[in-house]
């Protein structure tokens, strides 16, 4: 790509310059070295090397789970590979695509690209204003060379030829070579334009992606039916701000989940019984102090609100468990989001009740929306909707560790220091509740009830101010690519030679500038049309 006077796909065949390297080189000063490295970096060979290196460098990130796309997978991987994980961690393999080495490769590639695009743009700009070059004296040696005899005089024939070439989109210039009039023509400047657009748009994509990531943010929140999400830092379960994010970027709004309606295949004879057909979240959004508005969010239909998009990414059940003390006073009554474990929404939940009872209790609960007894005597869920809901609970007492100031995972219960009071290893059996059932807790602690089974959705809020620009540049990439690959850049010449006997011979030839499979055919087509037109002209 270094040689800006060449078309993009010019085959750089001469080995002469390479040979020069071995000749005694002049001493290079610091500037000289800088120039040397710049030359090296912007050479086609280096660009190709970096491109292939980038492909190879992207592979490890697909073999090892990534923090960005699969954080739980990373935790799992580290637990399973205690010796390998620290080594990979050192080399930033869990964050491959933002790692120093991966960034270095693509940044070098883009520097190389810019170093190539700028001189080529300048050269192309000159070429756009330049006249087509003088016709070569010896057309025989060029591609598609063909001759015709002209019924018209030399000057007139060339004038007709010029018109013909112009109509076909050529830029033309008349010359006289060795006394013979000739027209020199060139077309396909768009090929190089497309090429430059393609490469510049790639830079545009990179910048837009960078800016979008820097000024944007994403937030996740689990919302139970009847509850709402508000677009503020405190409301999110997790929040990932960009580097240049400020709180001011959060437009105040709230989205309340009125209901979540899944549709499942309920055809008992179907092999896809229980498969999801549709998810619809009915929400009410309120922007600033404005009027509440009803809306729906579906999987492929995010809700656009205040410059953000709100996506429906997950759902499940959030059973409401009510716990009363021995006097019948309610000490706990709220929904807890259960994590779905399979397609039939068999789910796992952890409930922690630190206050209100004589002892702190922690509950490890399993929820079966449609409970069935398996051959092994265990419970399973056979359908994702609520046909025969059942909640089983193992209850522990002891210090839940919520008061020591260290954050604990709401979705995990560390039972090492706890005592099971109901469950497989306790005197009391595992507690089983259907909807509306209530049962006494062991040790006279009180009672527990399955009060209601609302659903929850997991909403993702995204704000990326540069997203549209990424799309625009991506479209430019595609447009530039198509133009640069499929528009032929070629030169074409017609020379009219008057022989000693006064007869006029026409010579045609072309020159490909880049890959141009159709050149020969194009030359003979021009020749044919030209002679046809001349024939008509003479007859009339």
């Amino acid at each position: 790509m270094t040689d800006s006077s060449r078309p993009s796909d010019h085959f750089d065949s001469s080995a002469a310059r390479k040979g020069d390297d071995r000749v005694v080189q002049p001493k290079l000063g610091p500037i000289g070295y800088l120039r040397f490295f710049w030359r090296q970096l912007t050479s086609m060979k280096t660009a190709l090397f970096l491109l292939l290196l980038l492909a190879i460098a992207a592979i490890p990130g697909s073999l090892v789970p990534q923090v960005s796309s699969d954080p739980n997978g990373v935790i799992q991987f580290k637990a399973n590979n205690p010796t390998l994980a620290p080594i990979l961690e050192t080399f930033q393999v869990f964050t491959t695509y933002s790692s120093v080495w991966f960034s270095a490769i693509y940044l070098l590639l883009f520097v190389s690209l810019i170093g190539c695009v700028i001189p080529r743009t300048r050269h192309h700009f000159d070429a756009l204003r330049a006249r087509p070059p003088k016709t070569p004296a010896n057309l025989q040696r060029l591609e598609g060379f063909t001759t015709r005899s002209s019924p018209a005089a030399a000057e007139a024939a060339i004038a007709v030829g010029q018109q013909l070439l112009k109509r076909q989109g050529y830029r033309t210039e008349l010359y006289t070579i060795n006394g013979s009039p000739t027209v020199s023509a060139e077309r396909g400047y768009l090929r190089e334009t497309g090429n430059l657009v393609f490469h510049s748009a790639l830079i545009g994509v990179l910048i837009a992606v960078g800016l979008g990531g820097g000024f944007g943010y994403t937030g996740q929140r689990v919302v139970v039916e009847g509850y709402a999400l508000s677009n503020s830092l405190a409301s999110y379960d997790s929040f990932n701000p960009g580097r240049f994010f400020t709180d001011a970027a959060l437009e105040p709004y709230s989205i309340g989940l009125d209901s979540f309606v899944p549709t499942y295949d309920d055809d008992l004879t179907s092999s896809s019984l229980g498969q999801v057909l549709d998810y619809t979240a009915n929400v009410t959004s309120t922007l600033g102090g404005g009027e509440p508005q009803k809306a729906t969010i579906k999987v492929n239909e995010p809700l656009a609100i205040a410059g953000t998009s709100v996506y429906l990414l997950g759902n499940g059940y959030a059973p409401v468990v009510t716990v009363r003390d021995s006097d019948g006073n309610t000490v706990f009554s709220q929904p807890t989001a259960f994590l779905p474990q399979d397609a039939n929404l068999f789910s796992l939940g952890i409930i922690k009740i630190p206050d209100g009872l004589k002892q702190q209790i922690g509950i490890r609960a399993l929820f079966y929306p449609t409970a069935v007894l398996t051959n092994l005597g265990t419970l399973a869920s056979s359908y994702p909707d609520l046909v025969n809901p059942e909640l089983t609970m193992e209850v522990y007492t002891g210090d839940l560790g919520l008061d020591n100031g260290r954050g604990t995972n709401a979705y995990a219960l560390d039972t090492d220091s706890l005592t099971q009071i109901a469950g497989r290893t306790a005197d009391s059996p595992t507690i089983k509740l259907g909807l509306g059932d209530s049962i006494d807790l062991p040790n006279g602690l009180g009672s527990i009830e399955l009060t209601a089974i609302p659903r929850f959705v997991s909403l993702d809020v995204h704000h990326d101010p540069a997203q549209v620009w990424v799309l625009i540049f991506a479209i430019l990439v595609l447009a530039g690519l198509v133009t640069s690959l499929f528009i032929p850049r070629r030169r074409m010449w017609i020379t009219a030679v008057t022989a000693a006997d006064g007869s006029v011979g026409l010579e045609y030839a072309g020159l490909a500038r880049g890959d141009d499979p159709g050149l020969n055919a194009a030359v003979s087509e021009i020749a044919g049309k030209h002679v046809d037109q001349l024939g008509l002209k003479v007859e009339s």
Binding site: D9, M44, K45, A55, V299, Y311, P488, G518, A522
Partner: protein, 323 residues
């Protein structure tokens, strides 16, 4: 009704496979016949030498060649003609299978690995058939039909799943566009890789190796094959670029981000980069010829890897194999 359509589809695909098998044998017999006949008759050389056709064609990359140029190629020797006709017949059944599967499901027939295998192989064979209008590439028949047969074999035995409704994430117009164009790109990459394999063999033969493969004498020379491969691969590359962009637009709708380095996204990117490298290699001294041919083959290898290994064994959001 659904069961009937599924049945028709399966019957059609098994019939197509049977016919492809015969076509594959015929194509291979043709290659061996070429080996036997090399230099023996002028007739073979005249009909098979594709090189002469290339001078025809016009400004557009894939435009029809002059009919005068295609005429002799359309005849060709007996085995080759039979093989090609059988492939076309098998393809008609194959396309029938694709349509019946679509009718059965009431949607586009490429929502799980079995359906994708079924449709993508139909597109690959379709591209192979259509490309003959532009160039006589029938000598690639063994490769293309053989590849499709293996894919269909694995697809029908290992990937088969019943017709099930679309999960919500796939309920989008982008399913139609994104996946179809990806398959189309795959078809062009497959042919490009096939040509590159022949190109490498041809280069070895020219260098005095691979002496045993006499049929190569009846095929175009290495540089000719390289040009043909290049023209097919750039078309594939444009489709692949579109696939990548369309995928990003869809990912933004469905998953809330246009690019998240999901394993499938990573491999689509890797493939794009390899073929971008291929195109640049053709303009780089020392990389034209066999090296760029290797890149084309590696690129197509990555496409196959992306569809099989990545789909089945890598964890990611594109988990729609249905297995």
């Amino acid at each position: 009704m659904t069961e009937n359509f599924v049945l028709y589809s399966n019957i059609a695909v098994y019939s197509a496979m049977a016919i492809y098998t015969i076509a594959f044998i015929m194509f291979t017999l043709d290659l061996s016949r070429r080996s036997a006949n090399v230099g023996a008759t002028a007739e073979v050389g005249a009909t098979i030498r594709v090189g002469q056709l290339a001078s025809a064609g016009s400004t557009d990359l894939l435009e029809r060649v002059d009919s005068s140029a295609t005429a002799p190629a359309a005849k060709g020797p007996r085995y080759l003609r039979a093989a090609f006709a059988l492939t076309a017949f098998g393809w008609a059944l194959h396309v029938g299978a694709v349509f019946f599967r679509g009718f059965a499901a009431g949607r586009v027939p490429w929502a799980n690995m079995f359906e994708f295998t079924l449709t993508a192989t139909a597109i690959i064979v379709g591209v192979f058939l259509l490309v003959q209008v532009w160039q006589d590439l029938r000598f690639l028949g063994s490769f293309v039909v053989g590849f499709s047969l293996i894919a269909l074999g694995v697809g029908t035995t290992n990937f088969y799943v019943d017709v099930v409704p679309l999960p919500p994430a796939l309920q989008s117009a982008w399913l139609v566009i994104h996946v179809f164009v990806a398959s189309l790109g795959t078809g062009f990459f497959a042919l490009g890789a096939a040509l590159s394999v022949v190109q490498l063999l041809q280069a070895r033969r020219a260098a005095g190796k691979a002496v045993g493969l006499k049929f190569l004498d009846t095929l175009p020379a290495a540089d000719k094959l390289e040009n043909l491969a290049y023209r097919l691969i750039v078309v594939g590359f444009v489709f692949w670029t579109f696939t990548l962009i369309a995928g990003a637009v869809w990912a933004e709708r469905a998953w809330g981000r246009y690019w998240g380095w999901d394993t499938k996204e990573v491999w689509t990117f890797i493939i794009w980069t390899i073929f971008a490298g291929y195109i640049h290699a053709r303009a780089t001294r020392g990389w034209r010829g066999s090296r760029s041919a290797w890149l084309a083959i590696i690129g197509f290898g990555a496409v196959v890897f992306n569809f099989t290994i990545v789909n089945l064994f890598f964890k990611g959001l594109h988990a729609y194999s249905g297995l």
